[in-house]
Symmetry: none
């Protein structure tokens, strides 16, 4: 019975050799078509437009990074700048970051230099305008 079954299979394959071959070709070239389309077509871009009340959270985040690298302000300096903008004194910032007053003064001085300003109020104003703090 097993043998007969096998012969039946064999007969099927032989009598339909052309169809099987065509099927294989069809399959392979379908794959080729898909690959071609993937490779050569420009990626589809679906544009989703979201209207937003101006508050500038996402946009300012993008500007944020660019302007930030532009100024060359380091992570720690940014931290100091942010606390500065909340109205804290150097002493308070020092306590909050567990460092000395000298360190905060150095950081803030560097920030002022990098932002090309003289005072902390100017630094805050410019930093907000550039979008590197919110």
């Amino acid at each position: 019975m097993f043998l007969m079954k096998w012969l039946e299979w064999r007969f099927l394959i032989l009598s339909h050799a052309f169809e099987i071959y065509a099927g294989i070709i069809a399959f392979i070239f379908t794959g080729l078509g898909i690959w071609l389309a993937m490779k050569l077509s420009k990626p589809k871009i679906k544009v989703v437009t979201i209207e937003k009340e101006y508050s500038g959270s996402r946009e300012s985040f993008a500007i944020n990074q660019e302007a930030l690298t532009q100024t060359g302000i380091s992570a720690r300096e940014l931290e100091v700048l942010e606390l500065m903008a909340t109205g804290l004194s150097n002493q308070e910032i020092a306590q909050r970051l567990f460092v000395s007053l000298s360190t905060i003064k150095t950081h803030s001085s560097n920030v002022f230099f990098k932002l090309e300003v003289q005072r902390r109020t100017q630094a805050i104003e410019k930093a907000k305008r550039l979008g590197i703090i919110n």
Copy 2:
């Protein structure tokens, strides 16, 4: 000659019938593959954020006036506060308003008292938060 050429063609087609058929299949299914890829590929979603011209002009103006009267800050004091927020020093504010440094110090001291803060940076932060300056 024409006839012979035609016969030659015919012979070619007959003797290569299978290859031609396979070629047609390949071509068709390549097309199918491309179509499939086009149809089924997920489009990349690009999010475009458009900021609407801010609609809260009336509202913030209202808050402005109310909070301002609440604090009891006078017109001159507000003027000083606004210049302060732009990053000017007391000396610069004095020169701009054609008054003495002492006067600006008095004004700013009054502003700090009325806003219940100690430093100019805090005053600026709070004034912006309350919407009495922008």
